[in-house]
Amino acid sequence: MNLLEVKGLGISFGGLKAVDDVSFAVKPGEIVSVIGPNGAGKTTLFNMISGIYLPSRGSVTLKGQDVTGTAPHKLAEMGLSRTFQNLQVFQEMTVLENVLAGYHLRVRGSILADLLSLPSMRRRAATAREGAQALLTRVRLDKAAGQEAGSLSYGALKRLEIARALALNPSILLLDEPAAGCNAVETEEIDHLIAELAASGIAILLVEHDMKLVMRISNHIVVLDHGEKIAEGDPVTVSRNPQVIAAYLGADHAEATHADS
């Protein structure tokens, strides 16, 4: 069964069709990438799937349930989490607190238990703390746990966002340009991390401009241009599609990509 299904999704901003009639599906453990030139509508598509924008047309189905226009906090409960291209971290909290915030849903009990700091509450808080530390180790930020998030480098913040998203124990993770602003080593790390997550059964929906990374790890690629889906398929098929080459890769890039795949 498909974990996520997007059907005929579209949205307009004052006449401009930022995304129009886009459909595709994601299965558990699959890595699906959405690519396209700047302004193609990739982030907008993510915003509709994750409940930030209300789509004008079409539907989003998560685990067989229609979730079109469902609020982000509800989607978080249902196992969909994401990261942002332009970073949405709690700047004034520490790195550890940021990830702990991701445990919020699993830790919460009654306000009363909370205020009285009952043992059940403290136990759950301790479990969350351990989990958060482990996630930080996983994205290699364990040493920065006590630092204020606002003081981290761009690449580190990207990984922090991933760790926080993972704290929600998602079944599908939307990553909007996780490798942007990262150096080659960091990009490689993110590459491994994504593959690992997918292997553990988490579905990944990825937007990324680093073509090498995309071609290497994706099971399936959806290509957008001017808000419309112009192609989809496995990396080899997509990279040979003339329309894709024309719209996105550009004539001179085409050869390089062929050489890669």
Binding site: H73, E77, F90, H104, I111
Partner: protein, 290 residues
């Protein structure tokens, strides 16, 4: 020296009320970026509802509790009926909505209650206490103690409870808060309810000293706003210090200059803060990173 102490006592008393109003501004501002100019009306409602339920024969403590609960409900209604439906509108529009709400609440209070000044008995009598040559009303101690209680309680709420942390997380980054599963609409409703309850509590405490009528909210909102600005909008500690400082400044101005200038202090403070230190005493200078 006695005079100075006297001014400090009266400054602390009004300052504590300003601090509570400033705190109300702070809580809503943090949750929604909205400066809620109906904050003064919450204080008025706290006093007025207590007066009228008390006059109807309800024991004073119960009347006070009823007033606080009813005012909290008004706060929640303000959010649900006026702010939430306009979500996504520019913050300025939302602020104008709160100004409209304050006018509406004032008008309704005038109709439902009346235009007279009212009070109910002080909690521990009206006999002034003598302290080192100055005098202080027992009710002033209630006001100051009540303010301390609210600040300590709120500090515990924000630092010790998950709900409190969810509110702080929302204040820090609304989108990120939604992403980790925090219902930010609920956080806003909670914030409006809490602010209204705190305002009403201030009204209950201070009415025996300053009396209450339907129109006291405007002045209080202005003073509370000045206090919040002085301390740094969005910072609870700033609300406390800013409110108290403004109260003291007013008392000193009234005492050493003339009570005619007393109300000008708030305006001067607002202007001075805007020109000299827009972030206030404790304001964060956080920058948005993109």
């Amino acid at each position: 020296m006695d005079a100075l102490l006297q001014f400090i006592f009266s400054g602390m008393t009004v300052g504590a009320v300003y601090a509570l109003v400033a705190l109300g501004f702070t809580i809503i501002y943090n949750a929604s970026d909205v400066v809620n100019f109906a904050q003064g009306e919450f204080v008025m409602l706290g006093g007025m509802i207590t007066v009228f339920t008390y006059m109807a024969g309800v024991p004073l403590p119960l009347a006070a509790v009823l007033a606080i609960v009813a005012t909290a409900a008004v706060g929640v209604a303000l959010n649900k009926l006026a702010i939430e439906p306009a979500r996504g509108a520019p913050v300025v529009s939302l602020i104008i909505i709160t100004i409209g709400a304050s006018i509406l609440i004032r008008g309704a209070a005038q109709l439902i209650f009346d235009k007279q000044l009212h009070r109910f008995p002080a909690f521990s009598g009206d006999a002034p206490l003598r302290v080192m040559g100055a005098t202080i009303l027992p009710q002033s101690l209630w006001v100051i103690g009540g303010a301390i209680l609210v600040f300590v309680g709120l500090w515990l709420f924000f630092t010790r409870t998950l709900t409190g942390k969810a509110v702080l997380a929302t204040a820090n980054n609304r989108v990120a808060a939604q992403l980790v599963g925090i219902n930010t609409n609920w956080v806003m409703t909670l914030s409006f309810g809490l602010s209204a309850a705190i305002g009403a509590f201030a009204g209950v405490l201070v009415t025996p000293i300053t009396l209450v009528s339907y129109d006291i909210g405007v002045g209080l909102a202005l003073k509370g706003f000045a206090g919040a600005m002085l301390g740094g909008m969005g910072n609870p500690k700033g609300a406390l210090v800013g409110g108290l400082l403004l109260g003291l400044l007013e008392a000193m101005t009234a005492g050493y200059l003339s009570s005619q200038y007393k109300d000008a202090v708030a305006f001067i403070v607002i202007l001075a803060v805007l020109f000299v230190m827009p972030h206030g005493l404790f304001g964060s200078k956080s920058v948005e990173r993109v």
